[in-house]
């Protein structure tokens, strides 16, 4: 049994993959709680797709894809937030336009590179087994900054998320907090692309948080539970993908989806079976 967990760790790539999965699993879940509570799933999907051209350009320039991903994702998040504050068009319409347009631009750029299919696959669906030591440093630093920020403005962000009007009346800079939160979401997406890829990252943001939401009605417990669930599910998913020789990002996401399904069936608050029995 112990051998089942330890033997894959004889490989350096698997050690790095494990650390990356734990970090990304925890950070996406914490930020994901805000994404779920504020109904920003579509926004998260748009930001990750908009990161694509950034990733491709960084790849073409032979620099770290994190630079391109961070710049494109944060830029898009702030652009969408700006549209949201100066409502000329409906926000979901603006997101829809940006989402497809930027992604198409990425595909077009990608198609100019010869023999691009293999790399394209890893950008879109992630490849946690290819995480380098440098990637881990970036993940650790940016991830640490994201978590520290969430801890530092915990109560202000809670107030502004729950009751924006009340928070504004209490003197909180609600608009700045909104921009800040979207920036954190964008950074989280950017550092997660290596692990789960552009298409699947939204699942890591939304699924563990939505699962934990079925299990508690307290905000602080929700954060802790979502992070714990997500880390556990990421590790389980990584091992299953190793032994099954399946795509790692997709396996992690499917384990999280299964967790959500189980809670929907048996959970205390929303469990369909429990409700019927009660």
């Amino acid at each position: 049994m112990i051998d089942f967990f330890l033997s894959p760790l004889a490989y350096g790539f698997m050690q790095r993959a494990l650390i990356a999965s734990v970090l990304v699993g925890g950070i996406t879940a914490l930020v994901g709680v805000y994404v779920v509570l504020k109904g920003l799933a579509f926004m998260g999907d748009a930001i990750s797709h908009a990161a694509f051209p950034g990733v491709v350009i960084a790849f073409m320039l032979k620099t770290s894809i994190y630079y391109g991903a961070v710049l494109a994702a944060v830029g898009t998040a702030i652009g969408i937030a700006w549209v949201g504050q100066h409502k000329q068009v409906r926000l979901d319409t603006a997101i829809g336009v940006l989402f497809a347009g930027t992604f198409a631009f990425g595909v077009l750029l990608m198609s100019t590179i010869k023999g691009y299919v293999g790399d394209l696959f890893s950008f879109l669906f992630g490849n946690v087994l290819a995480v380098s030591n440098t990637d881990l440093v970036v993940l650790g630093v940016l991830g640490g900054a994201i978590v520290l920020t969430l801890v530092a403005v915990y109560k202000e962000l809670l107030f502004a998320t729950f009751d924006p009007l009340g928070a504004q009346a209490a003197g909180l800079p609600v608009a700045a907090l909104e921009y800040g939160l979207l920036t954190l979401i964008a950074l989280t997406i950017a550092i997660s692309i290596q692990v789960v890829g552009i298409i699947l990252v939204v699942a890591m943001l939304v699924t563990p948080a939505a699962t934990a939401q079925q299990l508690t009605v307290r905000f602080n417990r929700l954060l802790i539970l979502a992070a714990a669930l997500s880390v556990a599910e990421s590790v389980v998913g990584l091992y299953i993908s190793y032994y099954g020789n399946w795509a790692s990002g997709a396996t992690i996401v499917l384990v999280q989806t299964a967790g959500f399904g189980l809670v929907m069936l048996f959970g205390q608050r929303a469990g369909i079976l429990r409700r019927r029995a009660g």
């Binding site: 403005v153 809670l158 209490a170 003197g171 307290r218």
Partner: protein, 270 residues
């Protein structure tokens, strides 16, 4: 926390020629008004008369288009610690995972400040506020599990916990039953006796005559401003409610002013 500007004789709210609105629509115009410390003022008028708009301008949530306005001798919104605002319930997501305690504690945030955690004084203030509105037993309840009346009480407790000098309350007692309304109004009367100022919008004209010392009558413009007994003045009622008025024999006026936006609150009595 009384500072010199709340001494008797000074002015809490001062507005002259105030004009405010949303987009192309003008919701308030020509409002000139002074409110002093210790006053309990009802803001009365039909739906769309500008009651909420006036409170939002005073809270610094909506910038006026024209006119001069000060709250504690500063622009609205510049004294967030001293001014508590209670909005109409619709702006909050009730399924949000916060308890009554969490919500009331939010009233302390402007005093606690950034990057700091609540201290013993904040905990004591939350206890006191929950006691005042009779919600000690429900402190750990998730807000979505409360009745409409209990939700109003929880948000009023948040305003009390803030220990402000001015309360701006948008329909604080809509949706609560008669007994609760009496209790909450008694709390507000107490606050006024301690020198605090209260501005509360209401649809309940019967309550205006009983509980308030002064009433402001709005119908986009300031129709009347005087003692709460003006509620018995037919001319004031006609000017304020216009078409919503039904005249019955023997000089009785019926005000037909459905507040449909508060249906949720009405459906869940405590």
């Amino acid at each position: 926390m009384n500072q010199p500007s709340t001494e008797i004789g000074s002015v809490v709210i001062r507005a002259a020629g105030l004009e405010a609105g949303y987009g192309d629509r003008l919701a308030l115009e020509g409002i000139t008004l002074e409110v002093g410390p210790g006053e309990l003022v009802a803001v009365v008028g039909p739906n769309g008369s500008g009651k909420s708009t006036l409170l939002k301008v005073l809270a610094g949530l909506l910038r006026p288009r024209a006119g001069k306005i000060t709250v504690f001798d500063a622009a609205p919104g510049k004294r967030p610690q001293r001014v508590a605002f209670l909005s109409q319930a619709e702006s909050v997501e009730w399924s949000f995972p916060v308890s009554v305690w969490d919500v009331v504690l939010m009233g302390r945030y402007s005093r606690i400040g950034w990057f700091r955690r609540p201290g013993a004084m904040d905990v004591a203030a939350v206890h006191r506020a929950l006691e005042q509105v009779g919600m000690r037993d429900l402190a750990q309840r998730q807000v979505g599990e409360l009745s409409g009346g209990q939700q109003r009480r929880a948000f009023l407790a948040r305003a009390l916990a803030q220990e402000p000098d001015l309360y701006l309350l948008d329909e604080p007692v809509t949706g609560v039953d008669m007994a609760t309304e009496e209790e909450l109004m008694a709390v507000l009367v107490d606050e006024c006796k301690r020198g605090k100022t209260v501005l509360a919008s209401t649809h309940d004209l019967a309550s205006v005559a009983v509980h308030f010392s002064r009433a402001i009558w709005l119908n986009r413009r300031l129709v009347a401003d005087g003692p709460a007994s003006l509620v018995r003045d037919a001319a004031v009622l006609r000017a304020t409610y216009g078409g919503h008025l039904i005249e019955v024999s023997n000089g009785v006026l019926l005000v037909d002013d459905p507040h449909d936006r508060q249906e949720k609150g009405m459906a869940h009595h405590d």
